[in-house]
């Protein structure tokens, strides 16, 4: 039982970087974005690892990564990601900004997916992160799925199990730290992943070298994707005012500290 797994994911600044917004003529952007080291969005990366894992267990499967991002930065990210899992890259050269419109992003991604030669739509699993670390919306994959005519969609996915009859058991995160269990008859389906349960794969030099044979040409062939943000207007983007006047309490016996804390907890 094989699958055609297309993972949609873009790049985000490496998690520990300090981010600041700036307003430009084209709307808001990150200050010095070009200098910030980037990684593949963490949830999209989990989706990619899950895709590779599923493909390894389902002979005949193929995995694509469709990524809309500035070409040069995508190349940097590929230097690490390409070592993690086998996949084919379909690159779109455009902004990876969290301020871009998810509908426009979805449209560009859907067109790219629809254009993949040899894609078996009946075995298509469209993966991605449920949200991104940039826009953080959980609204793009639905748009890609709908444009591709996929009516079964799941988000906050942590586990996918393929049953012998080909049905897909899927666990999605819901409120209160629990998972909802669903069974979908089979592909096509959209899965927006949370973190899943797989550890991050090790760096495989041979995987990297094999991947690069396809990735470098794919980057060179990357078509431009414009996201004009039509009709979307940002009135302001501001970092939060986060300095509080911290009262530092020293030399108070634990019993006194506890009393103060209890009064605070039980107070209104």
């Amino acid at each position: 039982m094989s699958f055609s797994i297309v993972v949609c994911g873009s790049i985000v600044p490496d998690p520990l970087q300090t981010l600041e917004p700036v307003m430009g003529p084209n709307g808001p952007a990150l200050k010095n974005e070009i200098m910030l080291p980037a990684v593949l969005d963490p949830w999209a990366a989990h989706a990619l690892f899950e895709a590779a894992h599923l493909a390894a267990e389902s002979p005949g499967s193929r995995v694509w990564l469709v990524s809309l991002a500035p070409k040069a930065k995508l190349q940097q990210v590929m230097m690490t990601m390409a070592q993690k899992a086998p996949f084919e890259l379909l690159a779109l050269d455009g902004p990876a900004s969290g301020f871009s419109d998810s509908a426009e992003t979805a449209s560009a991604l859907a067109d790219a997916v629809a254009g993949i030669a040899g894609l078996d739509r009946s075995r298509l699993l469209l993966f991605g992160g449920w949200e991104s670390a940039s826009r953080g919306a959980c609204s793009t994959l639905q748009g890609v799925g709908e444009r591709l005519g996929i009516g079964e969609q799941f988000f906050g996915v942590d586990t996918l199990t393929v049953h012998p009859d080909g049905s897909l058991e899927i666990l999605e995160r819901v409120e209160g730290g629990r998972h909802q269990v669903s069974v979908c008859a089979g592909p096509p389906a959209v899965l927006g992943w949370a973190t899943g349960n797989l550890p991050e794969p090790r760096n495989h030099p041979q995987t990297g070298m094999a991947n690069m044979r396809q990735i470098l040409p794919a980057l060179q062939r990357a078509t431009a994707a414009r996201l004009p943000g039509t009709g979307l207007c940002y009135q302001s983007v501001t970092p939060p005012q986060q300095m509080r006047q911290t009262r530092i309490v020293k030399n108070l016996p634990p019993e006194e500290v506890a009393r103060e804390i209890v009064a605070w907890i039980t107070g209104d």
Binding site: P37, Q75, M79, Q83, P205, G208, M209
Partner: protein
């Protein structure tokens, strides 16, 4: 049986390897010897998570870099700018806690009394020629390497793999056959656990070792092949720097370069460069012959920033980045075996850094260029890449170059400092001005036990530029480490640590990754290590192993 076979494997992607690969990529039509019919198979492994995480306080005359990249446009590289102003400044001590002797204190008082030291600093009217960087560039090493690396990758002539530490060179009967990569999926002690992946062996006709001043492969080769007669790498320094955003009302031109001496201690040289976009780099070098624990390098850096001469620019600045690295200060005298069967060494690990001019990046780059020219010549001639041929092709180029000429001048330039500040200064000036013919001799004194910094006031943290050490690590260096790797710093004999009264390794760890653990072996936290290597050269008992590890700094602005 190896897992992978290539023509050339490079260890480390720093300025030396960047110079090597750039030159190689500019030479079309080189055919592979391991895979005839294919282009030359070149691969480079870098242990840091990204090639942009290099550290340097970078102001360079850029002779080698410009020769390789004549169309280099500084405006195309973030944080790069031509040098516009240059100053050498003596910083007096406004606090009174530094260890300067009575003569220097007297000079400080006199300078103040005749109003020659406004802001407690005396701008020397003369910058000696060997220090001058005019016509050069102020850059961020990380951004420069990203720029060069991106072009190299796009050219398709080489594959550069970050996040891939090299464990060791594969040595067989005195021949280097290639390298072995680090094991993954192991616990702290190196024992296999979930997802165990033993390190791949990569065979190559030539292993190009550009892994820097504390690189594991370089040091493995130094242990395997005896040092040439009279050569030894003895002097070190720890360079530590911050990149800061200047306040809006500070009016400093991009390309301003200030070299300092005298504060926070007479032995500590400092630097302050201004990048475009109101960004400045400020840092210090704490040398191994400085008789005080180097961990307070961070603390000294903070006092340096707060010196009135600099504080007038930095007071409301905000930290953007932070980093630290070791420097091989022995230079030419610390040059190890440069070529052997199956290997060649380039860059700072090969002794190219010049402690007199205070520069290393362009020198490293140029040694990389020299090796690449040698290799391409040998490949074109169908000659073997063996020691004899490399000695001729590479060493001749290196010996005949400005890198070597200037390295000779620098050889004894700083020895005077072993006798004291004034002999050191005079010695440096003499060496520089007489082209190395005259120098003041001196031998490094043995490392003493820890001395508490006396009288240095507490740092008034402001949450912007004056931060706790850990905050600088996280907010500045963005230090992280991926799981699944063994600790790359290990202590060999617990009893040696138990007997050690000083635990200098704890005192001078740049990231506070090494901490005291009762009376026993210090604890090591990989997630805080910035791979500066200071622990390596501060353990007098040589009881410490420092290997190539994954992770570390995650800032591309240093």
């Amino acid at each position: 049986m190896s897992d992978l076979e290539v023509d050339l494997v490079c260890v480390g992607f720093g300025p030396a390897t960047a110079g090597f690969l750039t030159t190689l990529s500019q030479t079309p039509g080189l055919e592979s010897r391991v895979a005839p019919g294919m282009p030359l198979q070149v691969i480079c492994y870098e242990r840091a998570e990204d090639i942009s995480f290099g550290v340097s306080g970078l102001v360079t005359r850029g002779r080698g870099i410009r020769a390789s990249l004549p169309d280099l446009d500084p405006t195309a590289i973030p944080l790069a700018t031509p040098v516009t102003h240059e100053k050498l400044v003596y910083l007096a001590d406004p606090i009174g806690a530094s260890r300067r002797g009575p003569a220097l204190r007297h000079i400080d008082r006199w300078l103040r009394s005749v109003d020659l030291a406004r802001e407690w600093a005396f701008e020397l009217p003369y910058t000696p020629p060997f220090l001058r960087k005019h016509g050069g560039l102020v850059m961020s090493l990380g951004q420069f390497l990203q720029h060069v690396g991106g072009s190299l990758m796009a050219s398709g002539t080489v594959q550069i793999w970050p996040a891939m530490p090299v464990a060791e060179a594969v040595l067989e009967d005195g021949l280097v056959r290639g390298v072995r990569l680090t094991d993954q999926g192991v616990d702290r002690r190196g024992q296999p656990e979930a997802g165990y992946l033993p390190g791949l062996e990569v065979r190559a006709l030539l292993t190009v070792v550009g892994d820097g001043p504390v690189g594991a492969v370089g040091r493995q080769l130094e242990a395997a092949f005896p040092w040439p007669e009279g050569q030894r790498q003895k002097e070190w320094a720890l360079g530590m720097k911050m990149v800061a955003e200047l306040p809006d009302d500070v009016d400093l031109a991009a390309g301003t370069v200030i070299h300092t001496l005298g504060f926070p201690e007479p032995e500590i040289f400092g630097f302050f460069y201004v990048h475009p976009g109101r960004v400045a780099t400020a840092g210090i070098f704490v040398p191994s012959w400085f008789l005080s624990p180097v961990r307070t390098a961070y603390r000294y850096l903070q006092h340096f920033l707060m010196h009135p001469y600099l504080w007038r620019y930095l007071e409301r600045a905000r930290l953007r980045s932070w980093g630290a690295k070791s420097l091989r200060e022995s230079g030419r005298r610390g040059e190890p075996v440069l070529v052997g069967e199956g290997f060649a060494r380039i860059g700072e690990g090969s002794g190219s850094t010049n402690a007199l001019t205070g520069s290393g990046v362009d020198e490293a780059w140029t040694t990389g260029v020299q090796l690449a020219e040698a290799v391409t010549a040998l490949l074109r001639d169908g000659a073997p890449l063996d020691r004899a041929h490399l000695e001729t092709a590479y060493l001749e180029r290196r010996r005949g170059s400005w890198v070597d000429r200037e390295a000779h001048i620098a050889e004894r330039a700083r020895d005077g400092f072993h006798r004291g500040f004034f002999p050191g200064l005079i010695g440096m000036a003499l060496a520089g001005l007489t082209q190395g013919r005259i120098a003041i001799p001196g031998e490094p004194r043995p490392m003493p036990s820890t001395i508490d910094a006396r009288g240095w006031p507490a740092i008034p943290y402001d949450g912007r530029i004056l931060l706790s050490h850990q905050d600088a690590l996280l907010l500045g260096g963005k230090v992280q480490a991926p799981p699944g790797y063994a600790d790359h710093v290990r202590f060999l004999d617990a009893s040696v640590c138990a007997r050690c009264g000083t635990h200098l390794c704890v005192e001078m760890c740049s990231g506070q990754a090494i901490t005291a653990n009762g009376d026993g072996v210090p604890a090591f936290d990989r997630e805080k290590c910035v791979h500066c290597g200071a622990c390596l050269w501060n353990c007098e008992a040589h009881n410490l192993v420092f290997q190539a590890g994954a992770g570390g700094l995650h800032s591309s602005e240093n």
